[in-house]
Assembly symmetry: C2
Homo-oligomer: 155 residues x 2
Amino acid sequence: MPTDPHAAGLDALAAYFRGMPPVAAMDIAIAGFDGDCLRLAAPLARHVNDKGCAFGGSLVSLMTLAGWGLVTLRLQAAGLRADVFVADSAVRFRKPLYADLEAAARLAPDAGWEPLLDVLRARGRGEATIAATVALPGGGDAARMTARYVAIATG
Amino acid sequence: MPTDPHAAGLDALAAYFRGMPPVAAMDIAIAGFDGDCLRLAAPLARHVNDKGCAFGGSLVSLMTLAGWGLVTLRLQAAGLRADVFVADSAVRFRKPLYADLEAAARLAPDAGWEPLLDVLRARGRGEATIAATVALPGGGDAARMTARYVAIATG
């Protein structure tokens, strides 16, 4: 039986999500990770607003966490220990989402992992720019985010 | 005894917050409203992350809701009925917050209420640009947001 090379990192991430009160309240599941893209899912019922669609704050939180998780997994895979903070984010809300939430986070176009991994190794502080989306069931996106994450070495 | 001119609107807003699952989970209280600035509070314990400070997603959600609430209150005060959506937002996370959360939302600098109220009356669709912050106990801000909200007339 093939072993998932990401299993240990994903187990740690799931435990982290369960342990953080605001994230536990979101009822998040890790929907997939292929090394480049992390997908997080959450049920609409937990995130519904007054108009029957997903609350904008929930979309931002899920995308922010997906980006945070992706950066954290890449650091773990590189054997680096660091605290990861979101530094800034820009979000566009495009269409209402009347279905369960799924956020996908990957490296932003034209960005690389070197400013995170190589610079963290050299200077103890690195950063990565992440693009995340929440897709609509019929195609297109409910929301899109670009965010910058900073990692500060802890050991 | 003087009557709070905002009491009816604030009661409706509080009921709205209680009725929306993701917002009820945040344990939000209306901390104040003077007609120009809406302040929302939430306990750190409900929003703490792995580092003992407030989760970035919670800061964004609270600021997003404060802006949404401010726009909603101004529409109600003007006697207008509309659905309010957040259209886009940009957030800077400046410092970690190790205390209870309080977000304050007001009109963005150089913005006015005319594009919301007058244009909604004339064309059935208005918008407002809101600035929100989460303050640090010792001065300065933990996070700052600028967001654009769109209101679409419902009757």
